[in-house]
């Protein structure tokens, strides 16, 4: 019986001790900490729902204990799920070593306002804590509060939190205690890094907007990338370490939170559209539309609904984006496989964005540590890789555009040639037609025919000759490669001229350059010289000094001069030479066109063809062949 009493008494004692333990205040014992590294204040805290407690003195321990980091929107008290809207007080007693360095406490933020009271002293208020939406004002900025002033070994910490704006609520992100200087430096440095990255995004976005206004043909992908950059810029200053809020701490909270979410959606939307418009052939239409519609829906929802609602949606959008990042990778790989101009940098960028988005999502969901430094490195990589990718891709595209322009120019030139031929050929054909009509009437008008018959024969022969030459020109021009494939030395060119034309050749060069090579195409050069020499011959009458060819060379070029001693040309005639409308004087229409072609062919070979009048002494045509 006595033993039974003892057992019963012991049971009562244990039960009463348990009760006493349950009603004790939460304590975090840091007496063994050296604070070389900051320490998370994770663990059990007292939770006073719907109470804003200002003093720890005589504070009864709460029967509700919670574990930090804590989101009260996920909390159930007395079988009732708490609403995200509301207010509370978190309380803990920290026991510190007697001898300790100067400490501080880092608080990332606490959707959406909070007040820190240590040993009954208010040391920081972020926004304004209140018991209703009207009384309260939200604010977000990471803060390091100083604990240096408190010399006691125990610190009774009360953190009042009020939230009427966000889906998450409470001390969601871990608090840290550490050396005040280290914590403050960390916040300052990360805010600085955020600003630096924002600057990178700003410059990229700004420059690209200007770039897109110049290269209209690339206008769609570039503005999207510019918007992506500018959105990311806002993310850098208006999220994570919130340097924008630090600079403008009276920034309207609703505006700030809306912008924070809008920038996330617009960055994702414009980034996606950038990829879609960069590779339209590889992008399935449904992908682009579904992605855009979903993105726009989230944007519209953010603009039109309360923050308490739209903040619930971000996690769904993050999941949506992660799935689409796989699609982006597929599109780019497909483009690469199909030999569309793309860059490995772009592939790398999407991979990095993918990794960054995973960490961003995990951080947002508070599944892991924030990994801020890692995310900074990833964002820096994104900026660098994106710019390299853009540069490479656009250089490739610009080259393609240039090639297309060159092809267009070539086609235009052919078209001009065709147009010229079709126009100019009318004249000799008309001559032939009129001569045929006269021939038909010759029996009826024998006397008249007798007068003009020689002229008719001469004109007809000329017309046939002209048509033949025009057709020759045409076929030659349309079939020619017209690029510089041959490399000739000064001696080669000298031999080439003396082999093909029997005019006097006067050649002058320095010995040192005689071995140098000059790029040209022999066949085309022959055509050009034939045209020029033909013109020179036409202007030379029997009494004039014969045509001469002068050949000069210096270190950078060879100059071929075809010099005639004919009647010379007026300024107007010179100005018209080489133009599509070339008409000099009687019998010169075809010559004018020939000169136009010769000039065009010279340009294609990289040579320069020019003409100079020497007054009454004649005309000189120069062909300049530059050394590469």
């Amino acid at each position: 019986m006595r033993y039974l009493r003892v057992v019963f008494g012991l049971l009562l004692l244990i039960t009463s001790l348990q009760s006493i333990t349950a009603q004790e205040r939460s304590v975090i014992d840091l007496r063994d900490a050296d604070f070389e590294e900051s320490i998370e204040l994770a663990g059990q805290w007292d939770f006073y729902w719907k109470q804003l407690i200002t003093s720890s003195e005589d504070l009864e321990p709460s029967k509700n204990k919670v574990v930090l980091p804590h989101d009260w929107a996920q909390e159930t008290l007395d079988d009732v799920r708490l609403s995200a809207e509301g207010y509370t007080t978190y309380s803990v007693r920290i026991i510190l070593p007697r001898e300790r360095p100067q400490l501080g406490m880092y608080i990332p933020h606490a959707f959406s306002s909070y007040k820190v009271i240590v040993n009954d002293s208010l040391i920081w208020e972020s926004g304004k804590v209140g018991i209703s939406k009207e009384e309260y004002r939200g604010y977000r900025e990471p803060k390091v509060v100083s604990l240096r002033e408190f010399k006691t070994q125990t610190l009774d910490i009360l953190i009042q939190v009020a939230n009427f704006d966000h889906y998450n609520a409470g001390l969601y992100y871990p608090l840290e205690v550490g050396l005040y200087s280290n914590l403050a430096r960390k916040v300052r440095m990360n805010q600085g890094i955020s600003l630096f990255l924002a600057g990178g995004f700003f410059i990229t976005g700004f420059v690209l907007l200007a770039f897109s206004s110049v290269y209209k043909n690339l206008s769609l992908p570039i503005p999207f990338y510019a918007i992506f950059s500018l959105s990311m810029m806002y993310r850098m200053v208006g999220a994570d370490y919130y340097p924008l809020h630090a600079m403008f701490n009276d920034l309207n909270f609703h505006f700030a939170i809306t912008m924070e979410y809008l920038s996330a959606y617009s960055a994702a939307l414009s980034g996606g559209l950038f990829v879609f418009f960069m590779y339209p052939k590889q992008t399935p239409t449904w992908t682009k539309w579904s992605y855009s519609i979903v993105g726009l829906l989230f944007i519209v929802t953010t603009l039109l609904t309360s923050s308490l609602f739209f903040t619930t949606l971000l996690k769904f959008y993050l999941a949506f984006i992660l799935s689409y990042l796989v699609m982006f990778l597929w599109i780019i790989l497909k483009a690469k496989k199909e030999k569309d101009p793309t860059s490995n940098y772009l592939l790398a960028t999407v991979v990095v964005v993918f990794v960054w988005a995973i960490f961003q999502t995990l951080s947002f969901l508070n599944v892991t540590q924030p990994f801020y430094e890692l995310r900074v490195i990833l964002v820096s990589c994104i900026i660098i890789l994106c710019n390299l990718a853009l540069f490479r891709t656009f250089v490739m595209r610009i080259n393609l555009v240039k090639q297309a322009e060159a092809e267009l120019e070539y086609q235009k030139s052919r078209q001009t040639m065709l147009s010229l031929i079709s126009h100019e050929i009318k004249m000799p054909i008309a001559t032939l037609q009129m001569n045929m009509e006269m021939l038909k009437m010759s029996s009826e008008r024998p006397e008249k025919f007798e007068k003009v018959k020689d002229k008719i024969v001469g004109l007809s022969l000329n017309a046939v000759e002209t048509i033949k030459r025009m057709l020759n020109d045409f076929i030659y021009f349309m079939s020619l490669d017209q690029s510089s494939n041959d490399k000739l030395s000064f001696d080669d060119i000298k031999c080439f001229i003396s082999d093909n034309w029997s005019f006097e050749l006067i050649a002058n060069s320095l010995e040192s350059i005689e071995k140098r090579q000059y790029p040209t195409d022999k066949l085309t050069l022959k055509y050009i010289l034939n045209t020029v020499v033909g013109n020179a011959e036409k202007y030379t009458k029997g009494t004039d000094q014969p045509v001469e060819i002068h050949l000069k060379a210096d270190t950078s070029e060879i100059l071929i001069e075809v010099r005639d001693f004919g009647i010379g040309m007026s300024k107007e005639q010179l100005a018209k030479m080489g133009s599509e409308q070339a008409k000099i004087d009687e019998n010169q229409e075809i010559t004018g066109m020939g000169f136009y072609l010769a000039k065009d062919l010279s340009r294609r070979l990289g040579h320069e063809l020019s003409i100079t009048s020497r007054g009454t002494d004649g005309t000189s045509v120069f062909i300049k062949i530059k050394r590469v």
């Binding site: 126009h423 009318k426 004249m427 001559t431 009129m434 009509e437 009437m441 009687e586 019998n587």
Partner: protein, 127 residues
């Protein structure tokens, strides 16, 4: 006799056309002008039944020449023709309010010049 003025800076065109018309008709006198300036001198001095002018000339456009002498030409009852190889559409626009001026394609069909004269002759005989 029908008086016809050809205004054309290209010698070959002018010469061939003159030969052709003179070969075909005994009652057509063909005058030539090599540019706007010499055409103006001839138009100041004489009356022509038919004026055929090229649009593109070194010193003046055919349309400007017509503009300068339009009143005289219409008073004289001159039939006015202008041609240009490459700018027919532009010319059509320019003369859309002037039914007296006809635009023809340069030498698409040279016998068209014969048709002009035949048409003129018909109108004369009907009158």
């Amino acid at each position: 006799m029908i008086s016809l003025l050809i205004v054309e800076d290209d010698f070959a065109v002018r010469d061939t056309l003159k030969d052709f018309i003179e070969f075909m008709y005994d009652d057509v006198v063909v005058s030539e002008a090599v540019d706007g300036k010499s055409a103006s001198a001839k138009l100041d001095a004489e009356r022509f039944d038919i004026l055929i002018t090229d649009q593109m000339m070194p010193d003046m456009k055919g349309s400007d020449l017509i503009g300068l002498y339009f009143e005289k030409l219409t008073t004289d009852g001159t039939w006015i023709y202008v041609y240009s190889g490459q700018m027919n559409e532009e010319l059509q626009k320019k003369f859309q309010d002037y039914p007296q001026v006809e635009i023809i394609d340069k030498f698409t069909n040279p016998t068209f010049f014969k048709e002009i004269i035949d048409k003129f002759k018909d109108s004369q005989s009907q009158a």
